[in-house]
C-alpha cells in the first residue's frame, strides 16, 4: 500500500511539473511567443495551476477506491465491526483520511505554485503572492468532494475495477459530453440548460473557472462563485449522508 501511495503521488506531482514544462517550451499560439504568456505570475498562477491540477484528481481517487475495496474484500471492516468498531467511527476515519489526501494535494499545488511562480513569474508580481489563494481552497474542496464520491461509489459497488473504470468514463467522457450537450444543443428547451451546473462532477469542477481565455484577451470569471460553492456543498452533504445510510443498511 505504501508503494501505491508513492506511485500515485509521484504521478500527480510529475504530471503537474510536466505540464508546466510543456507550457514553458510552449506550443505556438497564433504567432504570439508562448513563453511570454504570463501564466506563472502571481496572483493568476493560483487559478491557472489549480485548474490544471484539478484534472489529476482521478489519481487520488484510485487510491481511495483501492484502499476501501480492500477493506471489504479482505473482510477487515467486517472483523473490525465484530470487534466493536461502530460504522459511524469507521466512516469518520475514512473521511479524515480523504481530507488528509486532499490536504496533501493542495499543499503540493501550493508548493509547485510558489516555486514555478518564483522561477518563471515576473518579479513585479511577487507582492500579489497571497491574493487569489481562494482558488487553493476551491481546489481542496474539488479534490475532497470528488474523493467522497469515489468513497460512496466503492461502498455501493464493492469491486475496485468496476468503480475505477466507471468513474473514469463518467468523469472524462460522459459528464463533459452531457454538460456540453445541455448547454449548447440548440433544440433543447431553456429549462434544461442550467442543469449542467448541478451535475456531480461539473459542480465541483466549476469551483475553479477556466482561466486561459484571459490570455486570448477575453473576459473570465476570476473568483470562486458563491452559487457554485453552495451546489458543491450540497453534493458533499449528499455523499456523506448516503454513504452512512448505505453502510448501515447493507450487509458486510
Amino acid at each position: 500500500m505504501g508503494l501505491s501511495t508513492f506511485i500515485t503521488v509521484a504521478v500527480c506531482a510529475s504530471g503537474m511539473l510536466f505540464l508546466e514544462y510543456l507550457k514553458k517550451e510552449g506550443a505556438d499560439f497564433r504567432g504570439i511567443n508562448p513563453t511570454l504568456l504570463p501564466i506563472y505570475d502571481f496572483p493568476d498562477i493560483w487559478q491557472n495551476l489549480t485548474y490544471v491540477a484539478s484534472f489529476f484528481k482521478i489519481f487520488p481517487a484510485f487510491l481511495v477506491i483501492i484502499t476501501i475495496s480492500n477493506e471489504f474484500n479482505y473482510r477487515i471492516l467486517r472483523q473490525n465491526i465484530i470487534d466493536g468498531l461502530s460504522k459511524k467511527e469507521w466512516l469518520l476515519s475514512k473521511i479524515l483520511f480523504i481530507g488528509a489526501i486532499a490536504l496533501f494535494c493542495t499543499s503540493l499545488v501550493f508548493l509547485i505554485g510558489l516555486f514555478t511562480g518564483g522561477i518563471y513569474g515576473h518579479p513585479d508580481s511577487t507582492p500579489y503572492l497571497f491574493s487569489s489563494t481562494s482558488f487553493l481552497l476551491a481546489y481542496f474542496f474539488d479534490v475532497f468532494i470528488y474523493l467522497l464520491l469515489a468513497l460512496l461509489l466503492t461502498l455501493i459497488v464493492r469491486r475496485a475495477g468496476l468503480v475505477i473504470v466507471g468513474l473514469f468514463m463518467y468523469t472524462f467522457i460522459l459528464e463533459p459530453f452531457l454538460s456540453l450537450f445541455l448547454e449548447n444543443y440548440p433544440h433543447l428547451p431553456d429549462f434544461y440548460r442550467p442543469i449542467a451546473a448541478f451535475l456531480p462532477v461539473e459542480a465541483i469542477h466549476r469551483l475553479i473557472p477556466i482561466p486561459f481565455p484571459r490570455y486570448a484577451l477575453r473576459e473570465i470569471q476570476d473568483y470562486v462563485s458563491f452559487k457554485e460553492a453552495a451546489i458543491a456543498f450540497v453534493w458533499m452533504c449528499f455523499y456523506i449522508g448516503v454513504s452512512y445510510w448505505i453502510l448501515k443498511r447493507k450487509d458486510l
Binding site: R75, I81, D83, G84, K87
Partner: protein, 297 residues
C-alpha cells in the same frame, strides 16, 4: 440477567428465508450450543447479532440494550474464517484489536502464550497455517476478557491436540461464570461442554432446552433374558416404556418419564422374568439431534 434476547429475528434474501422469526434468549453463565445442519441459519443468526448483517425484520437486545458498538466491545467473537491484517504480525494485529476494544495491551503476550502462538508472534499473519489463524482468532476473542464469547466452529482446522486444548479452555472459561455461545457441528463436543442448546433447521427453531434434560430423556435400556419370547410379551404390556425395539439378541427399551432402571427390572421380576442382560445407555445429543431432524421432516 438476560444477556441476549431476540424478537422475531428474520433475514430474507430475495426468495430465500435464511431465518424466520427467531425467538430465543440466553442467560448469564449459560454455555449455549447453537446446532443445526449446514444452511440452517446459524452463521446468519450470529452475523445479525454482531451487526454484520442487517435483519430484514425483528430485533434483539444485548445486555438489555439495543445493539451498539459499545455492547460489541463486551463480546469476544469468532465468525466463520479468521480475518486479520495480512501484512501485520500477530502481536500488531492484537494491538489493533485492543485499541478497538478499548482494553490495555498487557494482556497480549499472556494471550499469545495461552493459544500457543508466542514463538510466532512477530511473523506476518499471511505466513500462518489455518490452525494458527484459528488460534489467533480465539486469542483475539479472549483479549479483552469479555463477559460473553461467541465461537463459530472454534475447532475448525485444529489438530486433535488443539481440539482438546480448546475444549478445556472453554470449560475453564465457563467455570469462571462467563457466557459462551458455541456454534458447532461436533455434537460430541457440545454435549461435553454446553449447558443449553438450540437446534435450527432451514431458518426455523426446532428445539431449545437444557442439555442435561435432553440427555435424561434419551436414556435407553438394553435387556435380554433366557426366554426371549416371554420377555417380549411382558414388555409389550408394560406401560412404563414408550418404545420397544429388537436389535439382534437384545431388546432396546425407551423408558417413559419418571421410569428408571429400578422400575423396569422390578416390573419384569414381578412378572417372573429374570434378566440376563441389563445395560443402561445414556442419551447422546447426536441421537437427539437426528431424532429432531427426522420428526420435523
Amino acid at each position: 440477567m438476560n444477556i441476549l434476547q431476540t424478537e422475531d429475528l428474520t433475514k430474507k434474501y430475495k426468495r430465500i428465508t435464511a431465518l424466520n422469526k427467531l425467538n430465543f434468549h440466553i442467560e448469564e453463565g449459560m454455555v449455549f450450543g447453537l446446532l443445526g445442519p449446514n444452511g440452517s441459519g446459524k452463521t446468519t443468526t450470529l452475523g445479525m447479532l454482531l451487526s454484520v448483517l442487517t435483519p430484514t425484520s425483528g430485533s434483539f437486545r444485548w445486555f438489555g440494550e439495543p445493539p451498539s458498538a459499545t455492547s460489541r466491545k463486551k463480546i469476544g467473537a469468532i465468525l466463520e474464517i479468521p480475518c486479520f491484517l495480512p501484512y501485520m504480525t500477530a502481536a500488531q494485529n492484537l494491538k489493533f484489536i485492543a485499541k478497538i476494544k478499548e482494553c490495555p495491551f498487557d494482556k497480549i503476550d499472556p494471550i499469545l502464550k495461552q493459544v500457543g502462538l508466542f514463538e510466532r508472534k512477530d511473523d506476518p499473519f499471511k505466513t500462518y497455517s489455518l490452525g494458527m489463524k484459528q488460534r489467533l482468532a480465539i486469542g483475539a476473542a479472549l483479549l479483552a476478557d469479555p463477559p460473553v464469547l461467541i465461537l463459530d466452529e472454534p475447532t475448525n482446522g485444529l489438530d486433535p491436540q488443539g481440539i482438546v486444548e480448546i475444549r478445556e479452555l472453554i470449560k475453564e472459561i465457563a467455570q469462571s461464570g462467563k457466557t459462551i455461545i458455541l456454534a458447532s457441528h461436533l455434537l460430541d463436543e457440545v454435549q461435553k461442554v454446553c449447558t443449553d442448546f438450540m437446534v435450527l433447521r432451514k431458518g426455523e427453531k426446532l428445539f431449545q432446552g437444557s442439555v442435561a434434560e435432553a440427555l435424561r430423556e434419551q436414556i435407553t435400556l438394553e435387556v435380554a433374558a433366557t426366554d426371549m419370547e416371554a420377555l417380549q410379551t411382558v414388555l409389550s404390556d408394560f406401560s412404563g416404556i414408550t418404545k420397544l425395539e429388537k436389535k439382534e439378541d437384545l431388546y432396546i427399551l425407551s423408558p417413559a418419564k419418571g421410569v428408571g432402571t429400578t422400575e423396569v427390572s422390578q416390573y419384569l421380576f414381578d412378572n417372573k422374568i429374570v434378566l440376563s442382560h441389563l445395560v443402561k445407555k445414556d442419551g447422546s445429543l447426536e441421537k437427539q439431534f437426528l431424532t429432531l431432524l427426522k420428526e420435523n421432516k
